[in-house]
Structures are given as structure tokens and as C-alpha cells.
């Protein structure tokens, strides 16, 4: 039985100073090939100055059915945001 090349996720830094961002995935037999393929597939128009690849199976993702308990509790913590605090009008920037 023939096996297929594993899937890799590709992250590209578009220029120094910016973070790597996920831009897509591809197939490659090994890490070296994944980097080469990522360069050829995702940076043909100078989209990047740095590439990360990670085999998809190595990514642990949160479970969307638990989004309620994961993310909603942060919603009412308004005191984490600067607009929660009242300052006199004279102070323009803080």
C-alpha cells in the first residue's frame, strides 16, 4: 500500500519585525523538503523572509465544542481594558 507524504503547516514572516503567520499547508516527505516546497509554493511573489514548517500532526488544537468554557469567561473581565478606568478630562493621554 502506498502512503502519502505527510501534511505540513507553513508559517511565513513577511518581513523582519513582524510575526510568522500561518499561510497554508502542503505535502512533503521530510522537513527539508517541506521548507523547499514552502519556499516554492508560498513565497513566489516575495511574500516572505523566513519560513517555519511543522508537521500538522504535531499541532495540538483547542476543542471548538469547549469554546464556551475556554473563551467566554474572558468576556466580562472589563477591568483588563484601559477604557474601564475613569480619568479626569485634563489628562489627555495615559
Amino acid at each position: 500500500m502506498n502512503k502519502e507524504w505527510p501534511i505540513w503547516e507553513v508559517f511565513i514572516r513577511s518581513k523582519n519585525g513582524l510575526e510568522h503567520r500561518h499561510c497554508g499547508s502542503l505535502h512533503a516527505a521530510d522537513a527539508e523538503m517541506a521548507i523547499q516546497n514552502a519556499r516554492d509554493v508560498y513565497t513566489r511573489r516575495q511574500e516572505g523572509v523566513s519560513v517555519w514548517v511543522v508537521e500538522s500532526k504535531n499541532i495540538t488544537a483547542s476543542n471548538p465544542t469547549k469554546n464556551g468554557e475556554m473563551f467566554e469567561p474572558a468576556a466580562d473581565k472589563v477591568y483588563r481594558h484601559p477604557t474601564f478606568y475613569v480619568l479626569p478630562d485634563e489628562i489627555k493621554h495615559m
Binding site: M33, Q36, D40, V41
Partner: protein, 251 residues
Amino acid sequence: MLKERLYDYLLHLGDNSMILGQRLGELCGHGPELETDIALTNISLDLFGQVRNYFQAAAAIKGDGATEDSIAMLRYENEYKNTLLVEQPNDDFAHVIVRQFLFDVYHQLLLKELMSSKDETIAAVATKSIKEVNYHVGFSSTWLKRLGDGTEVSHDKMQEAVNKLWRYSLELFKPTDTEIWAAESGVGADLDQLKPIYLEKIKMFMDEATLGLPEATVFQYGAKSGRHSENMGYILADFQYIQRAYPNMKW
């Protein structure tokens, strides 16, 4: 005289890249994976980019209405100066990789020398192209290893391709009169000096790939001075088709 030599040398440089680029172009859509199709097309595009640089310079020397396209497409077969190696067909992926690898290693050594060419245009093209070709060497040498040291089937196919293509390799280093002129005048590379480095590098990569070079090879020469293999006519039939069938038109 000097101008003619320089013109001729530019054709030597451009024709290898052009015919190899053409061969790779034939593969687009027919590779073993989408990713490899994209990679080989990138190499083809790099090569055609170099060709255009060389031929635009050649057209300026020739004058008389010459263009990159008239130089690329309107010569007779025996006026093309590419080697036998690059006109070999895409028999299978093993042949594609071995052909590419044997050319890339030469190409890299050549361009390193040309970066300090006394001709400014050639030096500039070489300086731009060396980065592309460094990548090509990385690509073809890792594939050489993967397939040479992959499965029994892939090893055999690769060895067969090496056995078949190795005989065309040394033509790259057998200088024509123009190449001797180029080396002596500081415009081009001294191929005699590059040859031992080439042989050493090839051997090293082949060892890593668990492949061997055939012994007692009868090397083939002649294409650089216009004596091509039967492949060339068919390549040109495609390559020149429109320019020949509809002369003097703009596209």
C-alpha cells in the same frame, strides 16, 4: 572581432540555460506531485530569466534590429551552442534530476567565476544568478540523495539515469575556441581549472546518494560547436514553431 567573440560567448552561456529551461517547461503539469511541479517550474523560470539577460546583452552587441527573441528563436540548429546534456529528454523523473544535478554543479562553479568577469554585464548577471543556482544545487542534490538512497526501485532508476547521462557531462568542460578566448581575456571562466573541482563534488554527492559513476565512459562532445543529438531538431521544432510559421510578427 572582440565583439563577435563576446557575442558568441553570451550565446554559450544563454543556450545551456535556455534548452534546459525548455526541457523543464515541457514537464509542467506532469510531475510526480504538485509541489515538485511548482519547484521545477521555478527552476525553469530562473533559467529563462538568465537567458533573457544574456540575450538582451547579445542583441545590443549585434545591433541591426536583433532582439532577445531573434537570437533565441531564429538561429539554425548548428548555431546553438548548448551541450548535449541539456538537450536530453525527460525520460523519467530520475533522468530529470540527474540531468539537473550534473548541470547545476557545473553552473554554480561557472557563475562563481563569472561574478568577477571583466565584462560588466556578465558579472552582473552572474551575481544575480548565483543565488538562484545555489538553490538549484540544493534542490537537485537533495533529490539525488532521496532517490539514490530511497527504495531499491528508485536506486536502480537513478543509477540507470547516471549511467546514461554521465557521458554528456564532460562536454561542459571541453572549451571551444570562444571559451578559450573568454578564459584568456578574463571575460569567462577557465574550464580546465573547474573540471577537477567538479569531478570531486560530483563524486562526493554521488557517494552520499549511494550511486556510482560508470567506469570506462566514452564521453560525447560536439554540441557546443553545433553538432547536436537528434533531440535538438525536435526541441527547436517546438521552440521556433510560431516564429518560423509566422515570420516578422509581434506577439
